[in-house]
Symmetry: C2
């Protein structure tokens, strides 16, 4: 596995971000650091300190934009709040300035709308939560792919909420090698049951990857 | 789906708990509340306030033991710190007193050792992270089951870290009905890719459920 332990992976927090969007990938990335020479991981928000997530959990960001160390990778979570924070010039400015020097920028769920607002999806393939796909199609320059996750150059995006964990494993395999992804999966015991409950997933709104597998 | 919105689901926090152990189930349970009449969800720790998790994320508990409202369900996460906190009389006392009136107690990963220390696994089937299975076998009165998750009466346990999400969906289906689990899975877009990286999972230490599926 490739030694990336001198690199740094930032996780962007903002009030109302969806808990699992960020913390699923955080767990995979910190396992990568602990077990397979992955980058160090840090949280960053407008200012260091606590904030309330979409479902009421309170999380404390370690860094503010002003004191955030250099980042090699940056992940942007989603949630309904994404549609508000995509209008926040300070957040978009931070994202643009860090994206300019990062090796990769990743989003989960409606985090892709924040990437789009920062101009990072121009001419790129991308995805989002199934609820967001019609709106993502309205953004010119973006080619919507109904995949569990997408990569287009340095831009990686995923479907809703839990899809960020699959995204991270794919990202770790690409950056750190298959053995690194294997160690992370093993230590996180990420071998999901794969059981599908009820019929909600048979909705016409289901993304293509789900229709193909269901 | 069954209306359980008047009930309350507690998530036990302690310094060093593994992030995804708690926040994976938290996301599923709060989705249950938001979309399918599930119980309200609260975090509780020895005292309300911030604490550092296993991988460095800081999370704020909303309630202390003393001011925690009545709980119908209680989930206990794991992490290496579980082997320390299982010796904490205040935590064990809180768990025992709440378990006495709760409808169900759930654990993720090495959280099962905390349940055992509280006497809740006596005569029960249970599981843990694959790293914990040999040690769990040494506890008299516990029948170790190498499953993704287990239910034995009001006691539910899961394998490592990410297994808590599969546990919660099974729990939601049992308590709230299949349609409730279906709505949660749909809104969390929990249809994992199911891709297995590398060969780590072929280890002799792999639990039976993984060997059966690999």
């Amino acid at each position: 596995m490739i030694d990336l332990s001198a690199r740094r992976f930032g996780f962007l927090c903002y009030p109302g971000f969806e808990e699992l969007d960020l913390i699923g990938p955080w767990e995979m990335a910190t396992m990568w650091h602990s077990y397979a020479k992955g980058p160090a991981c840090v949280t960053v928000a407008a200012e260091a300190g606590p904030m309330r997530c979409a479902k009421g959990l309170e999380v404390v960001a370690a860094h503010g934009y002003a004191d955030c160390p250099p980042l090699d990778y940056l992940l942007v979570p989603g949630g309904f709040a994404a549609f508000e924070v995509m209008k926040d010039p300070a957040l978009i400015g931070f994202l643009q300035s860090r994206a300019a020097t990062a090796r990769a920028v990743l989003s989960v769920c409606t985090g892709s709308f924040i990437l789009a607002a920062a101009g990072l999806l121009e001419g790129r393939r991308a995805t989002s939560h199934w609820k967001g796909l019609p709106r993502l199609r309205e953004i010119s320059g973006v080619t919507v792919e109904e995949a569990r996750w997408t990569q287009d150059g340095p831009i990686w995006t995923s479907g809703g909420v839990s899809a960020g964990m699959d995204l991270l494993l794919g990202f770790i395999a690409a950056e750190g090698g298959e053995d690194a992804a294997s160690e992370v999966q093993w230590n996180a015991e990420y071998y999901p049951e794969g059981h599908t409950y009820g019929a909600a997933h048979r909705s016409a709104q289901a993304p293509a990857y789900l229709k193909a597998g269901a």
